[in-house]
């Protein structure tokens, strides 16, 4: 198969995949190629999409590469899809934000931060696979702990968790005397 280039191979593989493919994954599929060659081909495809007025672009999301339609074409695609575009209620976004930034986190912690019962929202986020049960926390009552999923990163076009938008830091309370980490919640016994 000397007449096809690595760029063509990678384009076709990424094209048919229904989920983002990491560089590692591509390297293991295309074992006869060097990692550096593969990386260079990906860069070339990315550049082609940008410069050649294409309708799709290659992006890095959830640790993998995926072709996606260009955001400015969303309007036309929605005509095709007819289905209601994904919508998130403020409460589910709030809950997701807390889980994303504080994971692993328990339901009690989420509810303390939001000030409201969040069971129904957790259930629906679990159903949508945006969050998952990571395990149980080793404290009395062994509450479930939650974290975000790959689907969460895919949905919000995040390269990885570290690329979550950074938040304005909370200024320490003036004169409050205690400089506890904001990671600690006064939750003991709240369960």
């Amino acid at each position: 198969m000397a007449d096809v280039s690595l760029k063509q191979i990678i384009e076709s593989v990424l094209f048919v995949s229904d989920s983002p493919l990491s560089l590692d994954r591509l390297c293991s599929i295309l074992e006869e190629f060097e990692r550096e060659e593969i990386r260079a081909a990906i860069d070339a495809i990315t550049a082609d999409c940008t410069s050649n007025q294409r309708g799709i672009e290659l992006i890095l999301v959830a640790g993998g590469y995926q072709f996606r339609s260009r955001p400015e074409l969303g309007d036309y695609i929605r005509r095709l899809k007819r289905a209601k575009p994904a919508r998130f209620s403020p409460s589910s976004l709030e809950t997701l934000a807390i889980i994303a930034y504080r994971q692993p986190v328990t339901r009690a912690e989420i509810e303390y931060l939001r000030g409201v019962d969040s069971g129904g929202i957790l259930k629906s986020l679990l159903d949508k696979k945006l969050i998952r049960i990571i395990g149980k926390k080793d404290i009395p009552g062994k509450p479930l702990i939650y974290g975000t999923t790959k689907e969460f990163m895919e949905t919000f076009s995040l390269k990885d968790l570290a690329s979550l938008p950074t938040l304005r830091e909370i200024e320490e309370l003036a004169d409050s005397g205690d400089d506890t980490d904001q990671v600690l919640l006064p939750l003991d016994g709240v369960e």
Binding site: D18, Q66, P90, L93, A97, R114, G115, S157, L164, A174
Partner: protein, 260 residues
């Protein structure tokens, strides 16, 4: 000039027709409080607690007047506010932990909560403004024809833990009623112990009963182990033998070794 918060009405309403708001716009008491703080243009680090709690309670009253359920969380916050308000009336207590001449502000914990809540709310708007898959951008999320025909593989499938529980939940929902019994954590640790004991017996054939209880000596563990032994006896997968009164009890595996 900041308006005097004590004078600023909550429901200042010049145009009654244009002022419908959804109660759900307040996700909870913290949301409502933040709204009141913004509306009154007061400093979050120096909340005029008396005025804000009065407005907060006004809002709850309004909800009740409209026969809306006031969620428990709103009431809990109301009592917190009242408590803070009464503490504010007392002379500030010096903080014994602090060498400096500092005092504990009764509002401190509430302020911290509000700030943190505000931070996550900000985070949620940042999330909402991202390019969301299936809203702003689209990918191919289906198995294309050229892959569909390829041979399936033997790799372990990916499942989420929640999917597993949820599947069990669905099963029980449609299963015949008499099969229903609560699956608690206790039940599961019994299953755990059954598996351990059988694995143990696979190597040793016959063991001392007490050997099965070696491990963590928590009450839970012992109870689970004991129930596991009983269950295994019931299933006749093990046999217990005792040589004399109060003597050692031996446990045998009766499992028929069988190549599956």
């Amino acid at each position: 000039m900041l308006p005097d918060p004590e004078q600023s009405p909550l429901f200042a309403n010049d145009d009654p027709d244009s002022c419908l708001v959804r109660t759900e716009a307040f996700e909870g008491p913290l949301d409502l409080l933040l709204h009141l703080i913004k509306k009154n243009e007061v400093d979050i680090y120096n909340i005029p607690i008396a005025a804000i709690s009065r407005q907060y309670l006004d809002y709850l009253d309004l909800m009740r007047e409209l026969n809306l359920d006031v969620a428990g969380e709103f009431l809990v916050m109301a009592s917190t506010l009242i408590q803070i308000k009464s503490q504010m009336l007392l002379p500030l207590t010096p903080d014994p932990e602090s060498e400096e001449d500092q005092t504990l502000d009764p509002r401190a914990e509430l302020v911290r909560r509000l700030l943190e809540y505000e931070r996550y709310r900000e985070a949620s708007t940042l999330l909402a403004s991202r390019e969301i898959l299936d809203r702003d951008v689209f990918a191919r999320k289906f198995i294309p024809a050229e892959l569909d025909t390829a041979a399936p593989d033997d790799a372990l499938p990916e499942i989420d833990l929640f999917e597993l529980v949820d599947a069990f939940r669905r099963i029980l929902a449609k299963a015949p009623k008499d099969s229903f019994h609560e699956v608690g954590s206790e039940n599961i640790s019994i299953a755990d112990r059954i598996a351990d004991i059988l694995a143990y017996l696979e190597e040793k054939e016959t063991v001392d009963f007490e050997e099965l209880f070696i491990g963590t000596n928590t009450r839970e563990f012992i109870v689970a182990s004991f129930l596991a032994v009983l269950e295994l006896c019931k299933l006749r997968m093990i046999r217990l033998t005792q040589f004399e009164n109060y003597g050692r009890i031996l446990v045998n595996s009766t499992v028929i070794k069988d190549a599956a």
